[in-house]
Amino acid sequence: MGETTAAPRAMAAPGGRAASTPLLGNEREPTMFEMSVPGRTAYQLRTTGIDVRPLSELIPAEFLADAPCDIVEVSERDLVAHFTRLSHRQFSVDLGAYPLGSCTMKYNPKVCDTVAAMPGLADVHPGAPASLTQGWLALMVELEESLCEVTGMAAATLQPSAGAAGELTGLLLMGAYHEAQGDRRRRVLIPDSAHGTNPASATLGGYEVTTIPTDHRGLVDLEALREALDTDVAGIMLTNPNTAGLFEEDIAAIAAAVHEIGGLLYYDGANLNAILGVVRPGDMGFDIIHMNLHKTFATPHGGGGPGAGPVAVSQRVKDFLPGPKPALLEDGTYGWVTPPLSIGRVHGWHGNSLVLARALTYLKVHGGDGLRRVAERAVLNANWLRKRISEHYPAAYDRTCMHEVVVTATALKRATGIKAIDVAKRLLEEGFHSPTVYFPLIVDEALMFEPTETESLQTLESLAESLDRIALEALSNPEELQASPRTTPVRRVDEARAARVLVPTEDARVID
């Protein structure tokens, strides 16, 4: 009987079927749109007592759509199941070690989630008068001051939303500074090891980029730098430790040289974790610096963002900072003040405020001493791992590294055909997220490990054992290895096809 009058066959996808959670299976998860059924709803809204009038009485006809925009129609139950299953198809720090170089994927304390959810912080309208937001203003002033102390700078802005936004802000500050000296400089120097955001930001900042090579030590080639310097150079962008995980030992000389031609030093703070409480960019001679609070200060990365990229500057750049800035006023209250020569706003409001609240929480828990311990343990972990895996994965530069180590799989590749990417994929099967691969660009077959300070010695040892196993497997069974990962919900994906047959939305679907 079942099959006679049976159910509507051309059905939406079943929201209650859990075959895509890796706990049960590795089938694909339907999209919300595939689960959608006309007329199904989940929303519940407050009873207001205000009648909803016909839209035609409220909105001029030329602007009004004929019908509501069709988005999706699912039940709350299916919504929960869908996103819970998607979460099971996602790796995260909460699941295990994430030694992704340059990303500082440390443990994100849960207390910060609670702080960011406090109604007194989360429910504040950014345009509310200062009298109603004294807490937020105080928080921001305290954070600015703390970050200045950590970095050795004179003043800061919290507006930039991420590192790249901080970079661009910094470059505009650089320009404003030179302009105020009556100077218009066109070039910015950037090492070849730099992160891609550096040159991209420089371009958007209105500069031409001059690339400075890295020498055999893995450091800025001082000679090349000196040659590139002239009075058309607005400044240099450096990260220190650099992206090879090495401290730029010549920083004092570099700073002197750049300052001598009237240039400024920009510090890409992505690697600040290595030197917290040990050495400060300001003391090294940097004039402008951004921090990635989503790296160093443990605010979670959210699968791609949000971050926060505050910029701190030395005394002579201070007056150009974006505004309005939070400040303690003379009457003892907090308010907004715009610096005299401000470049203007770089954010629609005051920055990624709730990220800032998380960072201040982290800062307060650690205090000055704790931050130094962070750097020490981060560097200790990286060096331990560097030495421990050096047999099969020699460091690109054989010296004490800072918080991360770049190793190379060139020898492995030569011997077995196994590339850095194969190691990275195979490592997933071992229960670890892959390191960063093929960055920095100056190292062949680069694998960049940043173990971070919240991983234990046991985790490092286990990671090393996995890497050893992979190296042996590369010799004994390279084909199998290249087929990895095999235990994940999907295997290696066809990236070329994604670009060739672009399907950026459900409505462009061509597959199945």
């Binding site: 509501p68 996602q90 995260s92 991420a162 891609g196 409480g277 791609g304 331990w384 234990s456």
Partner: protein, 457 residues
């Protein structure tokens, strides 16, 4: 002091021994001693978590204006919408919160698919076929849209409607210092962009209008499209993602790029961030798209899979030639928006949009019935905000309303600076822009009107 690091002293010692080091300080030997911090950072000592929680609670309490403590009529781009527990709970799952950018798609299908769904939703709401994985906020989106449009039109002259939020315009101007774009602000007349007022100068390569202005009026996108066609400009439209449910899509009206602030889609007011920059464009612009894009593909067994695609646009590959410098974006807010839109659905979003317009109209009527309070633009339809004028300074009125428990709106003077083209200079100091979302009740609106009566005295 307690912290989050696992190392016991014995382990530190054994690790140092393995490295043939005597002290942890030796790890930093490459750093010139003279540069090193000698006496420790001048920061207070670390505090245990519970102490810090109490301290942060104290800070939070000092924000009298929290929408949970006051009735919120403030809008102008950031709105007090219902975000149900189910959305907060799903968006707060650790797997989403503590993931990095999906560099290894095999273990990131969760985020990738969620972003793909977000892109689909933004595409549907904007009426354009491609949407990216998010940018920082509305201001960043409009800035990037201008960059894309300039690159496409090859003219750096930008006609930017003053119907766009003043803060966003400020951001556009700041970043134009670097790109050298010439930003010409288009004044409003009767709540709509008055292109004739700027007709004298160079032909623009880019025109930017807000479908609904920050003052709550409807601008005429179709007219802007005609203008753009006349001068050969690329048209960028700023749209509200809630009203998108019930208005003609900017795409259908001819927008080349649609941008917006996604905060109303499930993100709390958050004192301005993290918010969510929305960005959609037409297919022929896709290789100039800023930020990340997720595309569908297959894995080597032919299973449907998602991956970030067209990466050659991006800074990590293209470096100084990249279309944008953006790297970290606001993915978690994008996922939140996808969840919130899933919860609202077609009907819920339309209901919210209808309520916002309807309740704001009711709000307008009630406050304008107070003697001395006038519409800034009498007779002009209100979208989801309404601008009113008061006989005394708007800032004073708002302070008084706050004492009665209302966040009564925003003073336009706190947003638009003197001479701003969006508003009659003589009224700027006395104008408040206010909004009623789907959460506001009749009792609250009526009480506000009553309080306003006393506040303007």
């Amino acid at each position: 002091m307690p912290d989050y690091m696992p190392h016991t002293e014995a382990e530190v010692a054994s690790m140092l021994a393995f490295l043939d080091l005597e002290s942890i300080d030796q790890l930093f030997d490459a750093i010139p001693k003279a540069l090193q911090v000698s006496a420790g950072l001048e920061l207070p000592g670390g505090l245990p978590e519970p102490d810090v929680s109490y301290a942060m609670e104290g800070i939070a309490r000092a924000n009298r204006g929290a929408a949970s403590a006051m009735v919120c009529f403030a809008g102008a781009g950031s709105y007090d919408h219902e975000v149900p527990p189910v959305v907060r709970s799903l968006a707060g799952r650790g797997e989403f919160v503590t993931a990095y950018t999906p560099y290894q798609p095999e273990v990131a299908q969760g985020m990738l698919q969620a972003i793909f769904e977000f892109q689909t939703l933004v595409s549907r709401l904007s009426g354009l076929p491609v949407a990216n994985a998010s940018l920082y906020d509305g201001a960043a989106s409009v800035t990037e849209a201008i960059n894309l449009a300039v690159a496409s039109s090859k003219s750096q002259v930008v006609h930017l409607s003053t119907g766009v939020h003043p803060n966003w315009r400020a951001v556009v101007r700041t970043f134009a210092r670097g790109t050298g774009h010439e930003i010409v602000e288009v004044p409003l007349k009767g709540g709509q962009s008055d292109f004739d007022a700027v007709a004298g100068g160079d032909h623009p390569g880019v025109i930017v209008v807000a479908q609904t202005t920050y003052l709550g009026t409807f601008d005429d996108v179709a007219a802007a499209r005609r203008r753009a066609d006349e001068v050969g400009a690329v048209l960028v439209v700023v749209a509200d993602p809630i009203l998108a449910s019930i208005l003609k899509t900017p795409g259908s009206l001819g927008a080349d790029v649609v941008v917006g602030e996604g905060q109303p889609l499930g993100t709390a007011l958050s004192f301005g961030g993290p918010y969510l920059g929305l960005f959609a464009c037409s297919l022929h612009q896709v290789r100039r798209l800023p930020g990340r894009l997720v595309g569908e593909t297959v894995d080597l067994e032919g299973r449907r899979a998602y991956v970030t695609t067209l990466r050659a646009r991006e800074q990590d590959i293209r470096r100084e030639k990249a279309t944008s410098n953006v790297c970290s974006n606001q993915t978690l807010m994008a996922v939140t928006a996808a969840i919130q839109l899933g919860w609202l659905g077609t009907h819920g979003l339309a209901e919210v949009a209808s309520r916002c317009v309807s309740s704001t109209r009711y709000l307008a009527e009630q406050v304008q019935s107070v003697a001395g309070v006038e519409a800034l633009l009498p007779g002009v339809s209100v979208a989801r905000d309404v601008a009113i004028t008061t006989p005394i300074a708007a800032a004073t009125v708002l302070e008084r309303l706050a004492d009665d428990g209302f966040l009564g709106g925003l003073a336009v003077a706190s947003l638009a600076s003197e001479g701003d083209g969006s508003i009659d200079p003589s009224l700027r100091e006395r104008t408040i822009v206010m909004s009623a979302t789907e959460k506001r009740t009749k009792a609250e609106v009526d009480a506000l009107a009553l309080a306003l009566g006393s506040a303007i005295r």
